[in-house]
């Protein structure tokens, strides 16, 4: 257990100051993860709270075989998925080959603030939102996502491409708006 070893040990013993320190170290980053998987600040905070309680409960089982922040993030993602499960209606699979990869709004994307991108993700339908997060940002494969969500790999792919299409449209709309603002 290389990083945060002493902090983790103190937390396992129930040292509340150490637990607060661990929370302060990771809560800000994990809060963004929660926001990405939920629809509102309230929901995200509920997930964050539940996640950290789980983290402290299962901390004694952390063996240091994965990076500690990944370990925490995994708990946060699982908690978020459970909270979304009722809402996770997956649209029937569409033929992935039919979806064109429209691109070229990559440049304008880098001008956007993280908060704006976050809002776009939150506006996606729940299935698209979760799959896009897992594939694009967390880096899971469609096979892994299919197992996590108990759907087919094709469904995961089609949800992802739908998410991408919606996001590209949103970015294009913002770009258009900005151009309009400049012109005015």
């Amino acid at each position: 257990m290389p990083e945060h070893k002493e902090l983790i040990e103190a937390c396992v013993k129930g040292d509340r100051l150490a637990q607060k320190k661990l929370y302060d170290t990771f809560s800000r980053r994990m809060y963004v993860v929660c926001l990405r998987y939920t629809k509102s600040q309230q929901e995200a905070e509920d997930v964050l709270q539940e996640s950290f309680i789980k983290v402290f409960k299962s901390l004694a089982g952390y063996r240091g075989d994965s990076r500690f922040d990944y370990w925490i993030k995994r708990i946060v993602i699982n908690t978020a998925l459970n909270s979304q499960r009722k809402r996770l209606y997956m649209y029937p699979m569409v033929d992935v080959e039919d979806i064109k990869i429209a691109s070229d709004n990559e440049k304008s994307m880098s001008n956007l603030h993280m908060e704006e991108l976050l809002a776009m993700i939150q506006e996606l339908p729940s299935g698209c939102q979760v799959v896009f997060n897992l594939f694009a940002i967390e880096g899971y494969s469609h096979k892994e996502i299919a197992e996590m969500l108990e759907v087919s790999e094709g469904t995961s792919k089609s949800q992802f491409f739908r998410a991408r299409k919606l996001l590209q449209e949103k970015i294009a709309a913002v770009e258009k708006l900005e151009r309009y603002e400049k012109f005015k």
Binding site: Q19, A44, I101, F135, A136, I137
Partner: protein, 155 residues
């Protein structure tokens, strides 16, 4: 067409946008976590206290059980032994007592066969019990006297 299972630049841009992203949650979130952890600890503590109470109760029940058994043993068994030991000298008594206990341990399950008294109800037994009060007093005198005197006799 690109391989659809691989991430494109678009996805990498999103990944990078969030890789170091931080936002502060409301302050009260920690308070809630703190309260939940305290509740959890209190629950564990209560559980432990309950276990100790249970253990204490079991110990008391066990002690009472042993007490009742030995009372039963003295009221039914030891009195005739006391009678028998009337003629023995006080110095022999501790040895005699050990002998009684060991013989009791061995023969107790067989007693109802040897002695019909065990099969009768307590009320019917009350007469022999009353009759044995005198003998019990003798027994107490004979048994306890050496024990009580022992410290003064010791050098």
């Amino acid at each position: 067409m690109k391989n659809l299972s691989e991430k494109s630049d678009f996805e990498h841009l999103w990944e990078n946008a969030f890789s170091e992203a931080e936002m502060a949650p409301s302050d009260h979130i920690w308070d809630k976590i703190d309260a939940s952890l305290s509740k959890e600890e209190a629950g564990k503590y209560r559980k432990r206290v309950f276990m100790y109470k249970l253990l204490a109760a079991a110990s008391i029940a066990f002690a009472l059980g042993i007490g009742a058994l030995s009372l039963n043993y003295y009221s039914r068994n030891e009195t005739p032994a006391g009678l028998a030991s009337k003629n023995t000298s006080p110095t022999e008594l501790p040895h005699d007592k050990n002998a009684n206990i060991s013989s009791d341990n061995g023969s107790e399950p067989n007693r109802p066969i040897d002695d019909n008294e065990s099969l009768t109800l307590n009320s019917e037994k009350s007469v022999p019990n009353k009759a044995s009060t005198q003998e019990t007093n003798d027994f107490v005198e004979q048994r306890l006297a050496p024990i009580l005197n022992a410290p003064s006799e010791a050098p």
